[in-house]
C-alpha cells in the first residue's frame, strides 16, 4: 500500500461521506444567486453554455445524417420520442467542422434543436455576480461575438458564454 493507495482510499471515504451527506443536508436553495454553466470546448477554445438555455446534455447519441444544403446540419437525432436536428456548433461558430463530435446539447424551447461539439469539460456553478459582459476577450470573430452574451472566469480561464437562443435564431433566420 503506497501513498497513491492511501489517497485512493481517502477519496473513496470522502465520496462515501459526500454521498451520505447529500441525503442528510438541509435543502438550501440559492438558485437566485447561482448560475449553472457547462464548460465545453469548441475547436481549441473554451466556452460556456448556460444550463438554463438547454433541455438536455447527451453523449454518444446516434445522429442520422440527412441530405441538406445547410453545411452545419449534421443530421437528426431521436430523443424521448421526438426528432431534433443536430447542428455542428463549431461550424456555426465559424470553426473548422468537427470530425466526430461526441457531445450534444438540446436547446430549450418549443422547437428542439441539437448542437454537437467535441469536448464537455464540467458542470460549474458560478455566482451571478462573477459574470462579466466583456465581449472581446476570447471570441475574436464577429460571428462568434454575436452569439456570446457574456464571460465568466472559471477553471483558470475567461470563458465566453454562448447564447444558444441567438444561435437558434440565426439558424431559423437562415432557413426562413
Amino acid at each position: 500500500m503506497s501513498a497513491n493507495g492511501a489517497r485512493v482510499s481517502a477519496t473513496a471515504a470522502a465520496l462515501r461521506s459526500l454521498f451520505d451527506e447529500s441525503f442528510t443536508a438541509a435543502v438550501v436553495s440559492q438558485s437566485e444567486l447561482i448560475e449553472d454553466l457547462l464548460a465545453i470546448r469548441v475547436g481549441a477554445d473554451p466556452y460556456m453554455l448556460c444550463l438554463s438555455e438547454i433541455a438536455g446534455l447527451y453523449a454518444d447519441r446516434r445522429i442520422v445524417a440527412v441530405p441538406s444544403p445547410v453545411a452545419q446540419l449534421l443530421g437528426i437525432v431521436g430523443l424521448r420520442g421526438m426528432f431534433a436536428p443536430v447542428y455542428d456548433l463549431a461550424a456555426l461558430l465559424r470553426y473548422a467542422p468537427a470530425a466526430s463530435p461526441r457531445w450534444m446539447v438540446l436547446a430549450a424551447g418549443p422547437h428542439p434543436v441539437g448542437f454537437a461539439f467535441e469536448s464537455f469539460e464540467a458542470h460549474v456553478q458560478v455566482a451571478r455576480a462573477s459574470l462579466v459582459n466583456d465581449e472581446g476577450q476570447a471570441a475574436s470573430a464577429v460571428t462568434t461575438r454575436q452569439h456570446v452574451r457574456g464571460n465568466v472566469r472559471a477553471a483558470g480561464a475567461l470563458r465566453p458564454i454562448i447564447h444558444i437562443a441567438s444561435v437558434v435564431e440565426t439558424i431559423r433566420n437562415n432557413h426562413s
Partner: protein, 500 residues
C-alpha cells in the same frame, strides 16, 4: 741443381766426397803400405834367412875350429865350439828349411846341405875321436885325406848359392819396397793434394751455396722474426685486451650466475604461485559451477516474476476495463445529474429540492470521475511499472542468460585457466630446472672462463717470451748472417741500425 739441395744434403755431399777421396787415398795408401810392409817383411825374412845361412856356416866353422884346436892341442876346452856348433847346426838348418819353405831351390840346396852336414860332422867327430884316442896319425891321415875339406867346400858353395839367391831376392825386394814406398808417397802426396783441391772446391761450393741459402734464410728469418716480433707485440696487446675482456666476462658471468639463481628462485616461487593459482582456479571452477546453478535458479525465478508481472499487467488491464465502466457510469451519472438539474429547474419548488439532490449526485459523479482519472493514472503507472518491470526483468533475464553463458564461458575459462596454470606450473618447474642447470652450466662456464683467464695470463707471459724469443731470434739471425755473409751482415746491420 745443387742450389736446390738441402743443407744436410750439401754437407753430406761434401763429406761424402771427402770420405770417398779419403777412402780412395787410404785404400791406395793401405795397399802401398801393405805392399811395403810385405816387402819389408820379406826383406826381414831374407835377412833372417841370410843370418841363418851365415849361422850354419858359422857353426860349421866353429865346429871345425874346435875340432882343429882339440886336434892340435888335445885340450878339451877347444871342444866347446865344436860341441856347440855340431849340436846346433842341424837345428839351424831345420829352421832355415822352415824359413825357405816357399823357395824350392833353397829346399833342394838344403837337402844337399842336410846330406853334407852329417858327413862333415862325422868327419869332425871321427877326427876328435881319434884325437881323443890319441891317434894323432890317424887324425893327420884323416885330415890329409881332404875329405873334410871337400865336404866343407861343398857346403860353402851351396851356402854361397843360397846366400847369393837370398841376396838377389833381397835386392829385388828392396827394389820392390822402394817402388812401393815411392808409389805410396806419390799416392799420398798427389791424392792428398787432389783431395785437398776437391775438398776445397766442394767446401767453397758448399760454403757459397750454403752462404746464399743461409743468407737468404737468415734474411727470411730476420723478416719473420720482425713479423714475429710485431705479431708478438700485437698478441701481447690482444692478450692484454683479452685478459681485460676475460675479466669483464668473468664479472658478467658472475652477475649472470647471480641472475640465474634469482631466476631459479623466482621460477620456484612462480611454480608455487602457479600451484596455488591452479588450486584457486579449481576452487573458482567449483564456485563458478555453484554460481551457474544459482543463476539457473535465478533464471527460473525471473521467469516466474515475468509471468507474475504479465499476469499483473493483465489484471491491470482488467481493472482498466472495469474502471472504464466506472468512468462511463460516472459520466452517465454526471449527464443524468445535469439533465436532472435541467429538469429540476423547470419543476418549480419541488424541482429545487430535486435539483439539490441532482447537484449532489453530479458532484459525486464529478468526484468519481476525478477519482477514476486518478485511478486510471495509477493503473497506467502500475501498467507502466509492470511493463518497465517486465522489460527490466526480461532484460535481467537476458542478462541472467548472458551471465549464465558468461558463467559457462567463465567456467570454461576457469578450466582452461586451470589447464594453462598446470602448464604454467610445469613450464615454471621446467624453467626452474633449466635455470638450475643453466646456473650449473654458468658455474662451469665461470670456471672455464677463470681457466681461460689464467690461460690468457699465461698466453700473455708466453707472448712476452715469444717477443723476447723473436728479439733473440733476430739477434741470432744477424749473428748467423754475420758468420755466413759478413758483407751482407754489415749492410743488414747498417739498415737495421738506421731503421732503429
Amino acid at each position: 741443381m745443387i742450389d736446390n739441395w738441402t743443407f744436410g744434403k750439401k754437407i753430406a755431399a761434401g763429406f761424402a766426397l771427402s770420405f770417398v777421396l779419403l777412402l780412395a787415398i787410404g785404400a791406395v795408401s793401405y795397399r802401398s803400405i801393405s805392399k811395403l810392409t810385405d816387402t819389408s817383411q820379406w826383406v826381414t825374412h831374407t835377412h833372417e834367412v841370410l843370418e841363418h845361412i851365415a849361422a850354419v856356416l858359422s857353426l860349421l866353422k866353429d865346429a871345425e875350429t874346435g875340432q882343429r884346436g882339440y886336434i892340435i892341442t888335445g885340450d878339451v876346452a877347444f871342444l866347446e865350439p865344436y860341441n856347440a856348433g855340431s849340436g846346433e847346426v842341424l837345428g839351424v838348418v831345420k829352421e832355415l828349411r822352415t824359413l825357405t819353405a816357399d823357395n824350392p831351390n833353397q829346399q833342394k840346396r838344403l837337402d844337399a846341405v842336410e846330406r853334407l852336414i852329417p858327413a862333415k860332422l862325422g868327419e869332425l867327430k871321427q877326427a876328435v875321436d881319434l884325437r881323443r884316442a890319441g891317434d894323432v896319425d890317424g887324425v893327420t891321415k884323416l885330415v890329409r885325406s881332404g875329405e873334410g875339406k871337400r865336404t866343407m867346400d861343398d857346403l860353402r858353395h851351396i851356402l854361397d848359392q843360397m846366400d847369393a839367391e837370398e841376396r838377389g831376392l833381397l835386392q829385388q825386394r828392396d827394389q820392390e819396397g822402394a817402388s812401393a814406398a815411392g808409389g805410396a808417397k806419390s799416392i799420398i802426396i798427389f791424392g792428398t793434394l787432389l783431395c785437398l783441391l776437391l775438398v776445397t772446391a766442394a767446401g767453397a761450393l758448399i760454403t757459397s751455396s750454403l752462404g746464399r741459402q743461409i743468407g737468404s734464410s737468415v734474411g727470411q728469418i730476420q723478416s719473420s722474426s720482425s713479423e714475429l716480433q710485431a705479431a708478438a707485440n700485437q698478441q701481447a696487446t690482444a692478450t692484454k685486451e683479452q685478459a681485460t675482456a676475460m675479466s669483464e666476462i668473468s664479472t658478467t658471468i658472475s652477475e649472470l650466475l647471480a641472475t640465474s639463481r634469482q631466476i631459479a628462485e623466482s621460477a620456484q616461487r612462480v611454480a608455487q604461485i602457479a600451484g596455488q593459482t591452479a588450486s584457486a582456479a579449481r576452487s573458482g571452477d567449483a564456485t563458478v559451477s555453484t554460481a551457474h546453478d544459482s543463476i539457473t535458479t535465478i533464471r527460473r525465478q525471473v521467469d516466474l516474476i515475468v509471468n507474475h508481472m504479465l499476469e499483473l499487467g493483465k489484471k491491470s488491464q482488467q481493472i482498466g476495463a472495469v474502471l472504464d465502466i466506472v468512468a462511463e457510469l460516472a459520466e452517465q451519472t454526471n449527464i443524468l445529474a445535469i439533465n436532472a438539474t435541467i429538469e429540476a429547474a423547470g419543476a418549480s419548488e419541488a424541482g429545487k429540492r430535486f435539483a439539490v439532490v441532482a447537484e449532489e449526485i453530479r458532484k459525486l459523479a464529478d468526484r468519481v470521475a476525478g477519482s477514476t482519472k486518478e485511478i486510471r493514472g495509477l493503473i497506467e503507472d502500475v501498467r507502466s511499472s509492470v511493463n518497465t518491470t517486465i522489460m527490466t526483468t526480461e532484460g535481467g533475464s537476458k542478462s541472467v542468460d548472458a551471465g549464465a553463458s558468461q558463467f559457462s564461458q567463465v567456467a570454461a575459462a576457469f578450466g582452461e585457466i586451470a589447464g594453462l596454470v598446470s602448464t604454467t606450473t610445469e613450464a615454471a618447474r621446467e624453467i626452474e630446472l633449466s635455470t638450475k642447470q643453466q646456473a650449473t652450466a654458468v658455474e662451469q662456464v665461470n670456471v672455464a672462463i677463470t681457466s681461460a683467464a689464467q690461460a690468457t695470463k699465461e698466453t700473455e707471459a708466453s707472448s712476452g717470451q715469444t717477443l723476447q724469443t723473436a728479439v733473440e731470434l733476430g739477434g741470432l739471425s744477424r749473428a748467423l748472417l754475420r758468420i755466413v755473409r759478413p758483407q751482407a751482415a754489415h749492410a743488414v746491420f747498417a739498415t737495421h741500425a738506421s731503421a732503429e
